[in-house]
């Protein structure tokens, strides 16, 4: 008898926790963007039978992998109430370093990749130093480094596209079969970046500190969080991620292109904002940013498949961004 009761109790409590888990899930910040993403997918699946195929969905992920990776770095910066305008240009510089060293200087792929990532990391550290030590606003700092990285890219590349890359640089563009679908290694790496960022932000003290500093830097400092060191780390880690994005970019296009990434800073901010991350810092989920990036990719791909000129994608993205920020503002006002 007593054992039965015990089992009943456990079942009840399990049911309860399942219920509360379900309701908790509905209130997660990434649910809105996820829902929007699913809705867009359903819509395009109905409109054209070419949308919902493994090959096409794999293609969409592949098409957002560069901006998606940049959005990981952008998200952690924005969570601290900062912004990074330099990421696309820094990535382009990194990719030119990687390709030029490998092709023109004959350096082994791994060495070229490490130097490219180091260049991006140095830019991240420079952003972080200027924001924390010189106390300059992130917008201004990264506006400056954006132009610096852009100019260095063009000077170093001599405006020439670098072709004939070794496979040691382009391996992320290769595919492996998953069921009947070819998936690129780059897509997996991007998803992995999101998974790691999600774990760190959710489950580690450092991750929670990012939220705390972004929500209220002074309060965070008073509770003993080393705010300056944290910010410096965030910008530097973002730099590392831009270096990885540079490698993804090379894998995707198989060339070193000095013109690359010119609008990727704004595109990554778009993804982050569509994902429900607050530009005021301290609120939002990295998974939301992934959904944001995918929403842009799905709309672009879906509209193309249904024969709508690409300019409408830009129009719709613009409307979505304003709506997403409005929602964030409403949420903030209710909270305070």
């Amino acid at each position: 008898m007593s054992t039965v009761t015990a089992t009943d109790r456990t079942e009840v409590s399990q049911q309860r926790s399942a219920l509360s888990r379900a309701s908790h899930f509905l209130t997660l910040p990434a649910v809105g963007p996820l829902f929007a993403l699913l809705l867009a997918c359903v819509y395009f699946s109905v409109r054209t039978d070419r949308f919902l195929t493994g090959a096409n969905l794999s293609l969409v992920v592949q098409q957002v992998m560069v901006v998606g990776a940049l959005a990981v770095g952008q998200t952690i910066v924005i969570l601290t109430a900062g912004i990074d305008l330099s990421n696309g240009a820094v990535m382009a510089l990194g990719s030119i370093f990687m390709t030029k060293l490998a092709v023109h200087s004959g350096m082994p792929g791994i060495g070229a990749i490490l130097i490219g990532i180091a260049v991006c990391t140095a830019f991240g550290a420079l952003n972080g130093t200027l924001v924390t030590m010189a106390k300059l606003p992130p917008f201004i700092v990264t506006l400056g480094t954006w132009n610096i990285a852009f100019a260095l890219t063009h000077v170093y590349s001599n405006e020439q596209t670098i072709t004939g890359l070794p496979t040691s640089l382009t391996f992320l563009g290769r595919t492996f079969p998953l069921g009947n679908t070819d998936v690129t290694y780059g897509s997996v790496l991007m998803l992995l970046l999101f998974a790691v960022a999600w774990y760190v932000l959710r489950q580690t003290a450092a991750g929670r500190h990012v939220y705390a500093v972004g929500d209220n830097r002074e309060a965070a400092r008073l509770t003993g969080i080393p705010d300056r060191r944290l910010l410096l780390t965030v910008y530097t880690v973002a730099g590392v991620i831009y270096g990885i994005a540079a490698l993804l970019l090379i894998g995707r296009t198989s060339v070193g292109d000095p013109q690359a990434g010119q609008t990727d800073n704004l595109d990554s901010i778009t993804a982050v904002v569509l994902g429900g991350v607050s530009l005021f810092g301290g609120r939002g989920s990295i998974i939301g940013a992934l959904c944001g990036a995918l929403i842009v990719g799905v709309i672009r791909n879906g509209l193309q498949l249904t024969g709508v000129p690409s300019i409408y994608q830009v129009l719709i993205t613009g409307i979505l961004v304003i709506l997403a920020v409005s929602v964030d503002q409403l949420a903030r006002r209710r909270r305070t």
């Binding site: 509905l26 209130t27 649910v31 809105g32 963007p33 829902f35 929007a36 809705l39 867009a40 819509y43 409109r47 054209t48 039978d49 070419r50 090959a55 096409n56 293609l59 098409q63 560069v66 405006e159 020439q160 596209t161 072709t163 995707r252 296009t253 198989s254 060339v255 292109d257 690359a260 990434g261 010119q262 609008t263 429900g276 929403i295 709309i299 672009r300 791909n301 879906g302 509209l303 193309q304 498949l305 249904t306 024969g307 709508v308 000129p309 690409s310 300019i311 409408y312 129009l315 719709i316 409307i319 979505l320 709506l323 997403a324 409005s326 929602v327 409403l330 949420a331 209710r334 909270r335």
Partner: protein, 338 residues
């Protein structure tokens, strides 16, 4: 407090639903006349450098008209800026996924686009480059373009015919280093005029990126260097109009001849008003309509076209010179773009 947070989150979820719904409405509005690509219908893709340059607007118009006439579907895409390779790569992939029979493309980055073109061709899609060849040119099935060397030769000959034995002091307002189109036009002009690169008659040479403001700056600098310039070669009409502005500011517009290339409507009007003496007109509309024709032929069981098709070029001027074939301004205006 906690309740408030929950309420705001729920409200936020509601708003996100509204966003999603709106995106669908917007998408629905956009679709208009065009239906889905599936089924037996032939679809042709057109990818231009940008959506805004009048040259590409005319190209798109040509493709649309021809697609309508042939009863096929046209799918279009463009980069966000000149040189935006990533958007063109994405567009090629999406068009492959959409099942197009052929892709007409003006590559923004002639080398970087090559792997994507190869991917499309591997799927049996006919790839035709319009206006600008990819590098190497063999990575597209065919090229429909202006012969830029000829375009340069025409204005070179015209300038030579009007100068006769009078010594020319030439300023050359070029495109940018290493861009094939610019090099061909430049060399064509010299060939037509009967000069070699490095001739002392070429007193100034500057890059303008084909931009009006940069053309003006370049001309101002050239006049500082050599005030006695009497002939200006320009890569395109915006650069020509920039040069004219600089010459006018210096009070020299009457004694200096400007020759150019493009044949845009603004440029032809400038020929009409005498700001530009002559311009070589090219035909983006023809490139696109012939491209659509070629793809339709291929889709209906014909062969893929190959090689290079010259879409023609005409010299437009209101002061014809003996020995140099030209068309008048009326013809130019009837065939101009933009």
């Amino acid at each position: 407090m906690k309740c408030d947070v929950w309420a705001s989150r729920r409200r936020r979820a509601g708003a996100m639903v509204a966003i999603a719904a709106l995106s669908l409405v917007a998408a629905g509005c956009g679709k208009g006349a065009q239906g889905s690509a599936s089924g037996g219908e032939i679809t042709v893709g057109l990818i231009t450098k940008t959506d805004t340059n009048p040259f590409f607007v005319k190209m798109k118009e040509g493709a649309q008209k021809e697609a309508q006439a042939k009863g096929v579907k046209l799918m279009t895409a463009a980069g966000k800026f000149d040189g935006d390779n990533a958007s063109q790569v994405t567009a090629v992939e999406n068009m492959i996924a959409a099942g197009v029979k052929g892709i007409l493309i003006t590559p923004s980055d002639t080398k970087a686009i090559v792997p994507s073109l190869q991917k499309a061709r591997a799927k049996g899609i006919e790839v035709i480059a319009l206006d600008t060849p990819p590098d190497p040119q063999s990575s597209a099935d065919a090229l429909f373009a202006t012969n830029n060397l000829n375009a340069g030769i025409l204005i070179g000959k015209y300038a030579k015919a009007s100068f006769g034995t009078k010594p020319a002091k030439i300023a050359m307002l070029d495109l940018a280093p290493g861009i094939t189109v610019g090099v061909l036009r430049h060399n064509g002009f010299l060939q037509g005029f009967g000069l070699k690169q490095g001739d002392p008659g070429i007193v100034c040479q500057q890059d303008t990126q084909g931009d009006q403001a940069k053309g003006q700056t370049a001309m101002e600098n050239c006049l500082q260097k050599a005030p006695d310039i009497n002939l200006v070669y320009t890569i395109n009409e915006p650069a020509a109009l920039g040069a004219y502005t600089a010459l006018k500011a210096a009070g020299k517009e009457k004694n200096v001849m400007i020759v150019s290339i493009d044949g845009g409507c603004t440029g032809v009007k400038a020929v009409q008003s005498g700001q530009i003496a002559a311009t070589s007109q090219q035909y983006p509309l023809k490139m696109a309509s012939q491209g659509v024709d070629a793809v339709v032929d291929f889709a209906k069981g014909g062969k893929k076209v190959g090689g290079y098709t010259d879409t023609g070029v005409n010299l437009i001027t209101s002061k014809a010179q003996p020995g140099v074939d030209s068309k008048d301004v009326q013809f130019g205006l009837a065939n101009c773009w933009g």
